[in-house]
């Protein structure tokens, strides 16, 4: 039981990071109907900006960890959001009324651009940081000496995910911007006729998605202690899978999908073999898609006349 609890913690933390990235995929798909393949690399950019900001603050002599974390969070969200906005503006908007595949190909191209850009600008080596947040709590000491540990980093990752998810859910369901986004999702032409600035709304979608990816990037840096220019690829694929599993287009679905992928990987490694954890995760994805083609929480797409 203790062992299960420990693995549950491991899985939830991993799943939170996947979920944060998955939201970016799902939001863009919901509104524009395209898969933003560059999103995993936006996550990587977020990680790098968090690293640079962190090193900058430390070299300026700042030592209070909570202050540093808050500044790093805000700066990396802001700058990564700017990246998200710029990419939409130069790579996707000009192609919006082109054929369906064009923006997707443009996104793949953008992904290569970002990978190579950070490889050249930041070097090809792994960039480690020493553990920033250390320590943790012993939750339970089992009879056979098995100790369930919850580290401070894990607490921060999960709390940050919950808080940000709450903020963005509120944003989408309660604000003017959220209403515009939902209107664009249903019918862009009609929304435009009713006075919704479609271009601006789509831009904001990319900005929000990128900001969440930046949070994921920062959490990744805190938790694993390193970033490299290629990390967006695998994480992006996993998060995309999470978005599809949860039902692409659905915000809670993306989070649920992320948690599930994280938990499946962890539990499979815990009770079966580590070697086949990815196989397990993708097999379950296939099974889910056979019985629920729109994912767990997705709505079937209504063909518009």
């Amino acid at each position: 039981m203790d062992y299960f609890a420990q693995q549950l913690i491991n899985g939830i933390v991993l799943g939170s990071i996947y979920g944060l990235i998955a939201i970016g995929y799902t939001m863009v798909y919901g509104i524009v109907g395209m898969i933003n393949f560059a999103h995993g690399d936006i996550f990587m950019i977020g990680g790098f900006i968090a690293l640079i900001t962190f090193l900058l603050l430390v070299s300026l002599g700042l030592t209070a960890v909570p202050v540093i974390l808050l500044i790093v969070l805000l700066v990396s969200m802001a700058i990564t959001a700017l990246y998200g906005w710029t990419i939409e503006r130069i790579a996707y908007r000009p192609l919006r009324h082109s054929f369906r595949l064009a923006p997707m190909l443009s996104a793949i191209g953008m992904s290569f651009v970002l990978i190579n850009y950070s490889q050249i600008a930041q070097g090809a080596r792994v960039k480690p940081v020493p553990p920033i947040i250390t320590g943790g709590y012993t939750l339970h000491e089992g009879s056979e000496g098995f100790v369930v540990r919850l580290s401070n980093v894990q607490i921060i990752v999960v709390i940050a995910t919950i808080v940000l998810l709450a903020i963005f859910t509120w944003l989408v369901s309660r604000t003017r911007l959220g209403r515009d986004m939902r209107a664009c999702e249903q019918d862009q032409t009609m929304a435009a006729l009713l006075g919704v600035d479609v271009d601006r709304t789509i831009s904001m979608t990319f900005v929000i998605g990128a900001a969440l990816a930046a949070v994921a990037g920062m959490m990744y840096l805190l938790y694993y202690g390193l970033v490299d220019f290629f990390m967006g690829f695998v994480a992006g694929i996993k998060a995309f899978t999470a978005a599809v599993l949860g039902g692409i287009g659905s915000l809670p679905g993306a989070m649920l999908g992320g948690l599930l992928i994280g938990l499946i990987e962890t539990m499979w490694s815990a009770y079966f073999s580590v070697e086949y954890k990815d196989v397990a995760a993708f097999s379950i994805l296939i099974v889910v898609l056979i019985f629920l083609p729109t994912g767990l929480l997705g709505r079937p797409e209504v063909e518009k006349v």
């Binding site: 090809a124 020493p130 694993y224 390193l226 490694s269 580590v274 070697e275």
Partner: protein
């Protein structure tokens, strides 16, 4: 992306070669992972080779000609290694020092054999490299079956009756090393409690760490590279697990400690006796230090590989790879890391692996110096 880079590489190579040909230079190659997760080691190879070429040219070159160096980047990827090898072969480079990853050196060596290129690896320790009866391969480092033996001996002595887990990353090097260690342990009647593999490039090891915690593992032996080993150590300490990690020569770079931080303390690995401490290496280590390079890990091995080749070329009076290889295997060579002789397969005859330990300040030292 990759093909673009390769075109760039090809263009660069051909340009450099055409100018080299004009000056009647001898161009040799150094190949390894200059980019990607293992690039710290690629840089060691490059540093060693560059210094060797500089020193050879300063002492009058080779056969009256100057040496020029080409760098090939395989990113520790077998496919890219093969194409780097083919580029070198088609450019008629007589000698390549490289590669680092065994999974790169092995496919590359076949392209070198077909293209009449002599290859000495400073770092690839998988036994298969010299076991395929290729005429063109040699290595100046040890082999994983020897390395595994030393690791197993240490484990048997220090961890008798304790719980040991063995992990590997499924690469030629990692799996090979883990298998050799397991074999040596099992032969002595010791059974490991856990044998698992992960993917090279994985970042999340929390599940496997919890498993080791459940099974009360005292020592985990990792057949794999330094990045994953560093993450495993870090995540073990995060979960309050004090298990000792032991690995192979892939941990011989400071980057390992920059991933783990002070948690590196106590981590063990096997490697040749520190080449930096050998009396033969003293002068050259000073030279590296003055250029602000710490010649750690395989830097001096690469330097030695260049020395073996250049001395054999001088003795044979030609750069013809086949003749040079025969000369190498017949003679004995003075290098920065000591005297070297090669057997018919291309392995060096004198091998000694020792166990190193990391301390909390990010340095490693031998724990059983020879003689004790």
């Amino acid at each position: 992306m990759k093909s673009l880079k390769l075109i760039g590489l090809a263009l660069g190579t051909s340009l450099a070669l055409s100018t080299a040909a004009l000056a009647q230079d001898i161009t040799v190659g150094v190949a390894g992972p200059m980019t990607g997760g293992e690039s710290a080691f690629g840089r060691q190879l490059k540093n060693g080779a560059e210094q060797a070429v500089k020193d050879l040219n300063a002492s009058g070159g080779l056969l009256g000609k100057k040496l020029a160096l080409e760098v090939g980047d395989d990113a520790c990827d077998p496919k890219q290694a093969r194409s780097v090898a083919e580029k070198f072969a088609s450019a008629k480079v007589p000698f390549v020092a490289g590669h680092y990853c065994s999974s790169s050196s092995i496919p590359a060596s076949e392209a070198y054999a077909d293209g009449n290129v002599l290859q000495i690896t400073p770092a690839s320790t998988n036994p298969l490299f010299t076991e395929r009866k290729l005429w063109n391969v040699a290595r100046v480092c040890g082999r994983d079956d020897q390395q595994g033996l030393v690791a197993a001996e240490y484990i048997l002595k220090t961890y008798k009756g304790k719980n040991v887990a063995i992990l590997n990353d499924k690469t030629t090097y990692g799996k090979g090393l883990a298998d050799e260690t397991k074999k040596a342990l099992n032969k002595a009647g010791f059974t490991e409690k856990m044998f698992e593999s992960y993917n090279k490039g994985d970042k999340d090891f929390t599940a496997i760490v919890s498993r080791m915690k459940r099974d009360n593992i005292d020592l985990v032996y990792v057949g794999g590279y330094h990045q994953e080993s560093g993450l495993i150590v870090r995540q073990m300490r995060d979960q309050g697990l004090q298990t000792v990690l032991m690995a192979g020569d892939a941990l011989a770079d400071k980057e390992f400690a920059s991933i783990t931080g002070p948690a590196a303390e106590g981590t063990l690995f096997t490697f040749g006796p520190d080449p930096r401490n050998k009396p033969t290496a003293k002068a050259i280590v000073e030279k590296f230090k003055s250029a602000n390079i710490d010649p750690e890990g395989y830097t001096l091995y690469t330097y030695a590989a260049m020395q073996v080749w250049s001395q054999a070329v001088t003795k044979a009076g030609t750069t013809d790879p086949k003749k040079v290889m025969d000369t190498i295997k017949a003679g004995a060579w003075d290098t920065v890391i000591g005297k070297m002789e090669f057997d018919a397969k291309g392995d060096i005859k004198q091998i000694d692996y020792v166990v190193y330990k990391w301390d909390s300040k990010g340095n490693y030292t031998e724990i059983n110096p020879k003689g004790s």
